[in-house]
């Protein structure tokens, strides 16, 4: 049974995303909407990890084989500078959130297959958040793109 591998991946990915949200939030303090909303999102990641705890207690996080299964979605440790910085940083977050979103989807499928209602509940709660994060990132990048690509220097 490989579900514990994916639960471990998920837990790790949420931790990575939380710290990446915080890095971008801190690095773009001059964009107050980005600054505050990414902090809110980071807190959601913390809550997701909290929600996963009882599941991890039951299944364990399969450390064995994790290296081999690890997906190549590294977190962000610093923000960029320059006129394209905000857009590129948001785009990196976009990749990370989509990675998590699809991971939740797959874990959700397994939860259904295993008739694990507790895990299904966790998935339901957390999937909605990553969908919202995707929509917000799209909204903000749509706003930023024309100015950044056409006029900013």
């Amino acid at each position: 049974m490989k579900l514990p591998v994916y639960i471990g991946l998920l837990d790790e990915a949420e931790a990575t995303l939380a710290s990446s949200f915080r890095v971008v939030a801190d690095g773009h303090g001059d964009e107050p909407d980005v600054h505050f909303i990414l902090q809110t999102f980071a807190k959601k990641c913390d809550a997701h990890r909290e929600a996963l705890k009882p599941v991890i207690d039951r299944y364990g996080e399969d450390i064995e084989g994790e290296e081999e299964h690890r997906l190549t979605a590294n977190g962000m440790t610093e923000v960029r500078s320059g006129p394209l910085a905000l857009m590129l940083d948001l785009q990196d977050l976009y990749v990370l959130v989509n990675h998590i979103d699809v991971t939740w989807m797959m874990v959700g499928q397994a939860a259904k297959g295993a008739r694990d209602t507790e895990l299904q509940g966790v998935v339901e709660q957390c999937e909605g958040d990553s969908e919202l994060e995707i929509r917000w990132l799209q909204t903000r990048m749509k706003q930023a793109a024309p100015q950044a690509l056409l006029v900013a220097e």
Partner: protein, 799 residues
């Protein structure tokens, strides 16, 4: 008429439920003049708050010499407030008026002629359009121009230049009203009517110090309170305002906690079955989500979060839940605070849950702060598309392109409209290089002023300012254009309850000053903006052409003006939109459409709505696909958001909550009211309002000079020890620097405010900051804060 500085609301003319509000004509003439001296009276409406009181301007020898309320007008039945009586024409006749254009030469502003000034603007504008394109241009306008002026600006910005960077100071005052109406009902448009005051059995005022912001509307409420069967009154406000003093229930919530209270009130409606199941089923969507979001918000939890009594929360909910006809009004206490749109939507939800819309007395007034803010929202000078059209609906963009006879590609529908603080951010980053500010004063009214001054002073910026005085903002300009004020030009405007008034030109503007409309038309002409057939984009010869053009733009939309004309607006009362040929203004006492949503049908159909909506937590757009998949056309949305604490809360270093607001005697940044002798005398200088215990803790007594510090700056102002709730301090936002000597200490309230905005409405959070207060020195007497209003000295009313 009593002296209306001392007696702000005037004599009572009580009326009972369902009775017409009696008339009372207020009038002020220049000293020494009597009615017989007046050459003529010219019809207008007052522009010194959002109420839109019908008035006539007295003219003698080509000069404005007086003002009188119009007895036949539905808004005020003859009354005027102190600002209209003492600051309307008086505030425009000061020797400081700008009479010639100014341009910057060697760092100094010097007088020039219109040709030179406009030539400079056009040269820079053309140069930037050629080298950088339309996104190099930003326009920041007002809530105080006329409809025709906004529409001209909207057209030249959207179809002449093609920039999404257009907004108004309406973003600071009324954006949340518009946003919450769009989120709940699918389109902007005030559901209620001022006449609901005459019919209701209870009035809820949410963050709305009506007694000072709309003094004439408050007089109408006072007349109900002193008549037979008076309405119950519920007030949500951290200050002991006149509204709070008259209230049956006063909920002095901590600033920043409105949403917790609202979620609690909605919960009580569910918990006690005070809801209209049939109405909810037939006319709303999303009730289950609303129910689950508010479920945790028991009165006890609300009490703990908001700092109020649980019993008062229950009592307020009971008044709403069991009242026969409820009127709600909402203003800056909600709009300029945390979770603005979500909190305003909860007010909409209360009315939807009880089916209290579209009937006499059952009204909802998401208010405006400024007289013509509504027109900015309608005409597309603030980022919305004209006629409440939907940015995300290609058909709506096509409609506009057809109307203007332009290529649809020029209309910037590919990016969401840029809100004011984002426009300033682009200026800060140097990507907007031409900023055109009309009739507003961001150097005093925007948050975090040190930053705003730095932005306005930016080397890369070419700044155009058009105004009637050399404001704090104009002093940073490269070109200053002197404009005509109210009474010096003709145009229409629409108040907070959709009443359209015509304001006629009474006198000529001073010197070479021109109307804002003439300036915009002149710019469009000089820029050579044309339609697809090479004809001028804006070929209006004057305001009436603009009004006729606007009527076509509004046709078939919620704000339909097609049944109105200048002629129909002359002589009688103002008229409420929508007003169409099918429902003609017709007879002499016609009042257009009194209330919206009388049949419980809402403009949410995807092809008709103004917005597909947003997530209330983040502002993420819903998008067309999701909207179409979930909407139940014609039903209103019950939208909800759970409460989380605001981002800046008091701590050890900054232990007090800071909120800003208004006094009855001043409007905005005092450009006019500060130049009225009577009004300035009533409130000549700023102050900081503190409770008895907070003042004692800071070692301050009445009139002592204190330093108030936030993470962004500090003020040095006299202390008023008043009846504000402990833990919160208040500063009026009107005061800037034009009437202080250079280099004096900071006194503008917005030195301290935070650059943060509501995620949906993008309205800045002026009422959420943390500060500390220290005594600087002993004062030489009491502060000069008014003793007639919420700022009056402590009486022990605070809890």
């Amino acid at each position: 008429m009593t002296d209306r500085i001392a007696d702000i609301w005037g004599e009572r003319t009580p009326h009972g439920s369902g009775q017409a509000w009696p008339g009372r004509v207020d009038q002020v003439l220049a000293e020494g003049l009597t009615d017989g001296d007046v050459d003529r009276w010219v019809q207008s409406a007052c522009v010194l708050c959002s109420n839109g009181c019908g008035c006539d301007i007295a003219v003698k020898d080509g000069k404005m010499v007086g003002i009188r309320g119009r007895a036949q007008d539905r808004v005020n039945r003859g009354r005027l407030g102190p600002k209209g009586l003492y600051g309307s024409w008086q505030g425009e006749q000061h020797r400081d008026r700008l009479t010639r254009p100014l341009i910057r030469v060697d760092g100094r502003l010097v007088e020039t002629d219109w040709d030179t000034a406009m030539g400079r603007i056009v040269e820079r504008s053309k140069e930037l359009l050629a080298s950088k394109g339309p996104l190099s241009h930003g326009f920041y306008t007002s809530g105080q121009l006329f409809l025709e002026e906004y529409y001209a600006l909207g057209i030249l910005g959207k179809a002449g230049i093609g920039t999404p960077h257009m907004d108004g100071n309406t973003r600071l005052c009324t954006a949340t009203a518009a946003a919450s109406l769009k989120e709940s009902f699918g389109a902007d448009g005030q559901p209620g009517s001022y006449a609901d005051v005459d019919e209701c059995s209870a009035i809820f005022l949410y963050g709305h110090n009506m007694a000072e912001t709309q003094t004439v509307l408050w007089a109408r409420v006072l007349d109900r309170l002193e008549g037979p069967n008076p309405p119950k009154l519920v007030c949500v406000d951290p200050r002991d305002t006149e509204v709070a003093r008259r209230a049956d229930v006063h909920l002095p919530v901590h600033p920043g906690t409105n949403l917790a209270l609202m979620n609690g009130l909605v919960r009580e409606l569910f918990a006690n079955g005070w809801i209209d199941e049939d109405y909810i089923a037939e006319h709303t969507a999303n009730v289950d989500q609303l129910r689950s979001v508010v479920e945790p918000w028991t009165p006890e939890k609300v009490a703990e979060t908001c700092g109020v009594q649980a019993a008062d929360v229950r009592r307020a909910a009971e008044i709403f839940g069991t009242g026969e006809k409820i009127l709600s009004t909402v203003l800056q206490g909600f709009y300029q605070s945390a979770h603005a749109t979500a909190s305003a939507c909860q007010v909409n939800n209360l009315h939807l849950l009880r089916g209290m819309l579209g009937r006499p007395g059952c009204g909802l007034l998401q208010m405006n702060g400024q007289p013509t803010a509504q027109n900015n929202r309608e005409c597309g000078a603030d980022g919305d598309l004209p006629g409440f059209r939907n940015w995300e609906n290609p058909q709506h963009v096509q409609d506009l392109a057809r109307l203007w006879n332009v290529d649809p590609a020029i209309i910037p529908d590919w990016a969401p409209p840029t809100h004011a603080l984002q426009i300033f951010r682009y200026v800060e980053q140097g990507s907007i290089e031409l900023l055109w500010i009309s009739a507003t004063n961001p150097a005093v009214s925007m948050p975090q002023l040190e930053r705003i001054r730095h932005i306005l002073d930016q080397e890369s910026l070419f700044l155009v300012v058009q105004d009637i005085y050399l404001t704090e903002t104009a002093q940073y300009a490269d070109v200053v254009l002197p404009c005509a004020a109210w009474g010096e030009k003709t145009g229409t405007f629409t108040n907070a309850d959709r009443t359209v008034h015509l304001s006629e030109k009474a006198v000529d503007p001073p010197g070479e000053a021109r109307s804002d409309l003439d300036v915009f038309l002149d710019y469009a002409r000089r820029m050579g903006f044309t339609d697809k057939d090479g004809r001028p984009l804006l070929d209006w010869s004057g305001p009436e052409d603009g009004f006729e053009a606007w009527k076509e733009c509004s046709r078939g939309r919620p704000c339909d003006y097609t049944g109105l004309s200048y002629d129909k607006l002359r002589g009688g009362s103002g008229i409420q939109w929508p007003c169409t040929d099918d429902q003609p203004a017709g007879t002499e006492h016609s009042t257009g459409t009194e209330r919206l949503y009388t049949d419980g049908g809402f403009p949410t159909a995807p092809e008709y709505c103004e917005s597909f909506g947003h997530d209330l937590l983040t502002g993420a757009t819903t998008g067309e696909t999701e909207y179409k998949a979930t909407v139940q056309p014609g039903k209103a949305w019950l939208k909800a958001l759970d409460y989380t604490p605001p981002h800046e809360e008091p701590d050890a270093e900054y232990p007090l909550r800071y909120t800003t607001g208004r006094t009855a005697y001043h409007f905005h940044t005092r450009t006019k009211t500060g130049r009225s002798r009577r009004l300035n005398g009533a409130a000549p200088e700023p102050w900081i309002e503190m409770s008895v215990e907070d003042a004692a803790r800071a070692g301050c007594q009445e009139g002592d000079i204190a330093r108030v510090t936030s993470r962004r700056g500090s003020l040095e102002v006299p202390v008023r020890v008043g009846d504000i709730r402990p833990g919160t301090v208040f500063a009026p936002f009107h005061y800037g620097y034009w009437d202080t000597s250079d280099g004096g200490p900071h006194r503008a309230a917005n030195e301290l405010t935070i650059t943060e905005w509501d995620p949906v409405s993008k309205q800045p959070l002026f009422k959420n900051a943390a500060v500390r207060v220290e005594k600087l020195r002993t004062g030489d007497g009491p502060s000069k804060a008014p003793d007639t209003t919420a700022s009056r000295r402590a009486t022990g009313a605070q809890r």
